[in-house]
């Protein structure tokens, strides 16, 4: 079940992306991954501490590698939601990384789901997001994230502190777009 | 303990009335079964053809041949007509009744009766409760695994009631208020023109990759595979199962009854049973997965794939 690819072209959601995610993608493209990795590592450790209930709900899937593939980003993310040793790393798409479950889709769609403001079932029925590998793990992650009070995106912003101040503005802008999805 | 019985379950398909009558006559005269379950269990629209005209005639013939006759009730009771038929079946005094839904329970509580496969009895408490209401005999749901059957047999022994398990034939996987036979032919249940009569063993439903999957019988969805518990019957007997049910199909049910009877009497092996069933044209592979707590379609222990 590893290395399963479920990429579709021309899916209807492609038209729903907004300009900002594209710009984020363009801005990040030249950034070497080595610079991103420590930020991700810190983020996932802090979230694991703040949001231990998320991992409780995952049960056996705390040992599952999740590949998160955001269409607009120049890299994919791989998450291991293990409370004892959480990992979040960035990889280039050509890297053929191994994963148990994958979730892919356009930035805005994934953003609204993570933000707790949209219904991922409805998104999936319209093929806006794609699930690969172990579907149960992906569904479980979705259900667990859905139970989080508030938004995990706010947590990320909190953790980042002053350094993420510009991101705060971007997020506020994106949230104003959520309703258009 | 009484000798293990072989039973002929209710005929779930809509065959022409004469064919149905002849089938039961032949079972009466030739099949080594101890009990015959009559009565329409699927669709109340079918009863004018056989139940209202031939049921008593067939019952008399079965009784004369020394077989016990039990009248099974409808599995899905919704409209007035369903309710009336269940009420009439449950209040007649001539035959013992097998209740297939809770509305039949409403009528038969307090008098001796049987519990059919379509009524969920999955635990000892439910069994004790129903036994206290007069249930003497329970035909278990096909999906129950060995472990559950065993636990229920222990309770049944305590209560002095009998457990029956289906060992041959397609098994009921779902019931609905909607008729899928009619739907396949772009009709509705009320305007079905009895299109289910054309499929004596159910209507094939295949996957889009043309793999046989399910079989439709009006409002009922059946497994495409026939269940065959020949290899499990010895274990079931040891658990204390007192009756084994054959579900009627258009194949030679007299021959099939004889095969299973021989197995019960230790006069043949289960390999021979399986071989004979194949010779008789029963679609292969067959299935025994439910018993083993595996996917129901699987044939555990005999090596195969779909």
């Amino acid at each position: 079940m590893l290395k399963q690819s479920n990429t579709y072209t021309n899916h209807p959601a492609a038209e729903k992306t907004t300009r900002v995610p594209k710009l984020i993608g363009i801005a990040l493209a030249p950034v070497p991954l080595v610079l991103i990795q420590p930020v991700l590592a810190r983020l996932v450790r802090d979230i694991a501490t703040r949001r231990s209930e998320l991992f409780e709900r995952l049960g056996p899937h705390t040992k599952t590698f999740f590949m998160i593939d955001v269409d607009e980003l120049p890299f994919v993310l791989r998450l291991l939601p293990d409370p004892k040793g959480p990992k979040l790393t960035a990889h280039r798409r050509r890297e053929n990384i191994e994963f148990g479950a994958s979730i892919s889709g356009p930035f805005m769609t994934l953003f609204t789901i993570i933000d707790g403001n949209s219904d991922s079932d409805a998104m999936f029925f319209s093929r806006d997001i794609r699930i690969g590998g172990n579907t149960e793990a992906a569904v479980c992650l979705r259900n667990a994230m859905d139970d989080l009070e508030g938004s995990i995106i706010d947590d990320v912003l909190d953790i980042g502190g002053v350094a993420f101040a510009p991101l705060r503005l971007v997020m506020a802008h994106l949230r104003s777009k959520e309703n258009t999805i | 303990m009484a000798a293990t019985q072989l039973t002929m379950g209710p005929l779930i398909f809509h065959w022409p009335a004469e064919k149905k009558r002849d089938f039961w006559f032949r079972i009466a005269d030739e099949a080594p079964v101890d009990v015959a379950y009559l009565g329409e269990t699927i669709c109340s629209k079918r009863t004018p053809f056989f139940d209202d005209r031939h049921l008593h005639e067939v019952a008399q013939r079965l009784k004369r041949a020394g077989k016990k006759v039990v009248w099974s009730t409808l599995s899905q009771v919704t409209i007035k007509r369903d309710r009336k038929i269940v009420g009439d079946t449950c209040t007649q005094k001539e035959y013992e009744v097998e209740a297939n839904d809770a509305s039949a329970l409403w009528h038969v509580s307090g008098t001796p009766h049987r519990i059919g496969q379509a009524l969920n009895v999955y635990n000892e408490q439910a069994m004790s409760f129903l036994a206290a209401k007069g249930a003497t005999h329970f035909c278990l749901a096909a999906e129950l695994p060995a472990q559950s059957i065993e636990a229920l047999c222990i309770k049944a022994n305590e209560l002095g009631v009998t457990i029956e398990v289906q060992v041959f034939g397609r098994v009921s996987l779902a019931l609905s208020a909607r008729c899928y036979h009619a739907r396949a032919h772009k009709r509705t249940k009320d305007s079905c023109l009895f299109v289910c009569e054309n499929d004596p063993d159910g209507m094939d439903l295949n996957t889009r990759s043309k793999i046989p999957f399910l079989s439709i019988n009006g409002i009922q969805t059946l497994s495409h595979r026939y269940i065959n518990l020949s290899a499990e019957m010895e274990a079931l007997k040891e658990m204390g199962v007192g009756a084994f049910r054959l579900s009627p199909h258009s194949s030679d049910m007299v021959a099939i009854a004889k095969i299973y009877r021989a197995l019960l009497d230790n006069k043949t092996s289960c390999d021979e049973v399986d071989h004979s069933l194949e010779e008789l044209g029963i679609p292969q592979p067959m299935a025994n997965g439910f018993f083993h707590r595996q996917p129901g379609f699987e044939m555990v222990g005999k090596g195969e794939a779909i």
């Binding site: 995952l58 991922s120 569904v139 259900n143 | 439910a126 069994m127 996987l173 779902a174």
Partner: protein, 346 residues
């Protein structure tokens, strides 16, 4: 459609407002439902004792205990679904679930199994019992059986009855009626479906599992067709660009000799939406409206519950309800009134 004996013109004066019973798959969804105006929420424990035993969903005992005050302080009832079938030899788990409900003083337990109902009524005579749709009680006699034997106070009707049929049942039973008004519409009689067990070895009745995600595989061919399999069986295949669905067996497309093309043998993937029938349902004697969807996200729960809250309030004030926004939340964007509007559905 005024089958009621003295059908009044003014709904608000003659009928009490129906209770809005809403799904809570997680504590967050419970709070979302309460905040959106649910009169009652229903939930289950994280095990096989309820019919939505899905990964990452439901309540641990602690989570349930912690969530109940939130609902109660806001006047919302909490119903606990113990509505799968207690399975020998492990049925102690179902008895424990009932005991937990009694200890936490939930407002009612929703049961389907005769053994569970009997245990609850005998051990906790003060605990209110609702008869789950999983019991498949679709006739007055069946419902009366459960009322008489276990003191059931409310029946959740199967989604197979027309409004006149509900009205007729109402006149013949001694308990309240709860009816589904929105959400996933199951095709098979609840509590009597072993399709999932036939394919996966996991049982809806015994394990509370229907078409489990662990058995789902999507595979795309070189032309962009997406095949959706459950276990070994292909449940459907979607052409490139076509909306994909979850491979639920009774929502699949299959081949049969009577049809040239693969067709939805049981039903199209479609959601029930009875918003326009609400006044008729109230007149037919329905006193609780149930929204399906414990497996759906909290944002879905919030949207649907808010919309139905507004609709019920509008109706009770004698205004027309507007639920046009709900369509985007329905499965595949399609909705139906199912069996409720006409028996031709059958």
């Amino acid at each position: 459609m005024s089958a009621q004996k003295s059908a009044p013109h003014e709904l608000d004066k003659a009928f009490a407002a129906p209770e809005l019973v809403c799904p809570a798959g997680t504590p967050a969804a419970l709070r979302a439902a309460v905040d959106a105006g649910a009169d009652a929420v229903y939930c289950g424990l994280t095990n096989a004792t309820n019919a939505r035993n899905f990964p990452g969903l439901n309540f641990s005992v602690q989570a349930l205990e912690a969530s109940i005050p939130y609902a109660r302080e806001r006047g919302t009832k909490v119903l606990l679904a113990v509505n799968s079938f207690a399975t020998a030899p492990g049925s102690a788990m179902w008895r424990e679930a009932v005991d937990i409900g009694a200890r936490l003083k939930v407002d009612a337990i929703i049961v389907a199994d005769i053994g569970v109902a009997q245990y609850a009524s005998e051990t906790h005579p003060d605990l209110r019992l609702h008869l789950s749709v999983q019991a498949g009680a679709s006739s007055p006699e069946a419902i009366r059986f459960y009322c008489q034997e276990f003191g059931v106070k409310r029946v959740v009707l199967p989604r197979i009855l027309t409004v006149p049929e509900i009205s007729a049942i109402h006149r013949e039973i001694p308990c309240e009626i709860e009816a589904f008004v929105f959400g996933n519409i199951g095709m098979m009689s609840e509590g009597r479906c072993s399709l999932t067990n036939y394919v996966t070895g996991l049982s809806t009745n015994m394990d509370g599992i229907c078409s489990p995600a662990s058995e789902v595989k999507y595979a795309e061919d070189e032309k962009g067709n997406l095949s959706a399999k459950l276990g070994n069986y292909e449940i459907d295949c979607f052409e490139k660009g076509e909306s994909a669905g979850y491979p639920t067996i009774c929502k699949g497309r299959y081949l049969t000799p009577a049809r040239k093309e693969a067709y939805y043998a049981f039903e199209e993937p479609i959601s029930l939406n009875l918003s326009s029938l609400l006044p008729e349902l109230i007149k037919a004697g329905v006193t609780a409206f149930k929204i399906e969807g414990r497996q759906r996200s909290r944002s879905y729960v919030k949207s649907v519950v808010s919309a139905y809250r507004a609709a019920v309030d509008n109706i009770m004030e004698g205004n027309e309800p507007d639920l046009s926004t709900l369509i985007s939340l329905t499965e595949g964007g399609k909705q139906t009134q199912g069996a409720f509007k006409s028996k031709k559905w059958r």
